[in-house]
């Protein structure tokens, strides 16, 4: 709760800061809309050739695109700016301000930087998910619940992944480039996982966990996610949060020189 409060406060700071730049507003909105157009055009071209892609109907694919946009938006909102700043601060040895605050340092480092414009993507993603849910017709409370749970689990996994990468900069130089790999592979998540060859499916599940973050939640909208899968997602989220926490603490110990 405390974490959410702090995140919202940082978010507000970010939004208030950017609201002074009206020209940015238009440009950034245009950017998000172009991204949306790109996604929809892709769907359009594919659906003009077949009504069903690997078992996914039009509205399923739209939901998938929605989750893709939403998760990408949340990453852009908090995760990417904060983690990039974290890596920079670690390299330049100026994590100090985050460490002298009487607040969990991981929390401050994780939500401290915000790119407010990604809220457009969050809104567009939510809109697409909502539209597709309405098109599906009646959605039970249970289905909504699984959607929320799998979304949160997916976000937790992706966040842990970024945190782990960022933390590796406590030991290694030049990890920024590895983050580009994430962006490249994330592109693949806008389509159903099942269309990819086996090795890529594994890479997208284990190496870079975009499958869990995007495909799983979208599948709940098709009503094709069993209980064991939801449980698995929650378990994966818990494990990865725990692991990245350990890595963060180890990194801090190294930063303050307790381990060397």
């Amino acid at each position: 709760m405390r974490a959410l409060g702090l995140a919202l406060r940082f978010l507000w700071i970010g939004v208030a800061g950017q609201m002074q730049y009206r020209a940015n507003f238009v440009a950034q909105l245009a950017r998000s809309l172009v991204g949306l157009a790109l996604g929809l055009a892709g769907l359009g071209v594919v659906l003009s050739n077949t009504p069903v892609l690997a078992g996914w109907r039009a509205r399923d694919l739209l939901a998938l695109l929605g989750v893709y946009t939403l998760v990408g938006g949340v990453i852009g909102l908090f995760v990417r700016p904060s983690m990039q700043a974290l890596m920079r601060d670690v390299h330049l040895g100026r994590l100090d301000f985050a460490l002298v605050l009487p607040e969990d340092a991981q929390l401050v480092a994780s939500v401290g930087r915000v790119n407010a414009w990604s809220l457009f993507d969050v809104a567009l993603g939510l809109g697409m998910i909502g539209y597709s849910a309405l098109a599906t017709g009646h959605m039970g409370i249970l289905q909504v619940l699984t959607l929320v749970v799998t979304l949160l689990a997916g976000l937790a996994v992706v966040y842990s992944f970024w945190l782990a990468l960022a933390c590796s900069s406590f030991w290694l130089l030049k990890v920024e480039n590895v983050l580009l790999v994430f962006d490249d592979l994330y592109e693949a998540a806008r389509w159903p996982l099942s269309i990819y060859p086996g090795w890529l499916r594994w890479a997208l599940t284990l190496l870079v966990p975009v499958a869990l973050a995007v495909t799983f939640p979208a599948q709940t909208l098709r009503g094709q996610l069993g209980w064991w899968q939801v449980t698995g997602a929650v378990a994966a989220a818990s494990v990865s949060l725990w692991l990245s926490r350990r890595l963060w603490l180890a990194g801090l110990r190294r930063y303050s020189g307790a381990s060397s």
């Binding site: 020209a23 940015n24 238009v26 440009a27 950034q28 245009a30 950017r31 172009v34 991204g35 157009a37 790109l38 055009a41 892709g42 359009g44 071209v45 594919v46 003009s48 050739n49 077949t50 069903v52 892609l53 690997a54 030049k174 480039n177 590895v178 580009l180 790999v181 962006d183 490249d184 592979l185 592109e187 693949a188 389509w191 269309i195 990819y196 060859p197 890529l200």
Partner: protein, 267 residues
């Protein structure tokens, strides 16, 4: 002409040296070159299997061959001045390069060539791996390869000139990245990058026919894969030359107008 060649040689050497410093990063960047065609390939293979193995004359292995070649062409013709031009204006490095006695475009060309020299072997090797992995079959002849080389060269020059012109938009707006995004999206669908133009909806194809984009990416691929005969390929080369003439003329005008604006604003 000889003087210009000297300039290129010198610039090429500098760019090669500086890019070799970052070779690891440079190779990592090539990953996006692979992901994109693999995604397209997977999507269209799925479409093909949903339609019983074929989409308007393209079977899964045809898609494989097409996207592998598109990947190679896209790598050869890719430019990145667009992403840098606004910061060149903002940080004043453009003013510095304007003081040099050679047009700034030459520096960008040699920077581009240097990067291609380093990364081409990697991308070609990756293309080989993908071809084997996805069962792409090529039926090549010396004539086709020669036509392809010519088409790819013209595609590079055309795309370079066009995208350099798009980059110049930064003279008029400080938010050029939004326009660049729009351009790249249009390019994705109208150049045959996302899907062969043969399988896109008819209205989209008609728009693509009116624009230069398809001559920058899908045309050389189609030439190599033998879609359309030799006479079609020759007509295509003609279209490339025509577009090149138009774009270069436009570029000259836009550059002059942009410079006038830049120096009038006076930063």
């Amino acid at each position: 002409m000889i003087a210009l060649a000297g300039v290129y040689l010198a610039q090429l050497r500098v760019h090669l040296a500086s890019q070799l410093q970052y070779r690891a990063a440079l190779l990592l960047y090539q990953l996006s070159a692979v992901v994109e065609p693999v995604v397209s390939l997977a999507v269209w293979s799925a479409v093909a299997s949903a339609r019983g193995g074929e989409v308007r004359g393209y079977a899964a292995r045809d898609f494989a061959a097409y996207f592998v070649v598109v990947m190679v062409v896209n790598h050869l013709t890719r430019t990145w001045t667009m992403n840098e031009f606004d910061s060149r204006i903002a940080e004043g490095t453009l003013s510095l390069s304007l003081l040099l006695p050679a047009h700034p475009i030459h520096n960008d060309v040699s920077d581009n060539l240097a990067s291609k020299l380093i990364t081409a072997p990697v991308v070609w090797a990756l293309a080989g791996v993908l071809s084997v992995g996805f069962g792409a079959v090529f039926d090549l002849s010396a004539r086709r390869v020669a036509l392809f080389a010519l088409a790819a060269l013209l595609a590079f020059v055309l795309r370079f000139a066009l995208e350099w012109m798009v980059a110049l938009l930064a003279f008029w707006t400080t938010r050029s990245s939004a326009f660049n995004g729009l351009y790249l999206t249009a390019l994705l669908f109208l150049s045959g990058q996302f899907a062969p133009l043969g399988v896109v909806p008819v209205p989209l194809r008609e728009v693509a026919d009116l624009l230069p984009f398809r001559w920058m990416i899908s045309f050389p691929a189609d030439v190599l894969l033998g879609r359309g005969g030799v006479s079609w390929a020759l007509r295509g080369l003609g279209a490339q030359c025509l577009w090149l003439a138009v774009v270069v003329m436009l570029l000259a005008v836009v550059w002059r107008l942009g410079l006038r604006r830049y120096t009038a604003v006076g930063s």
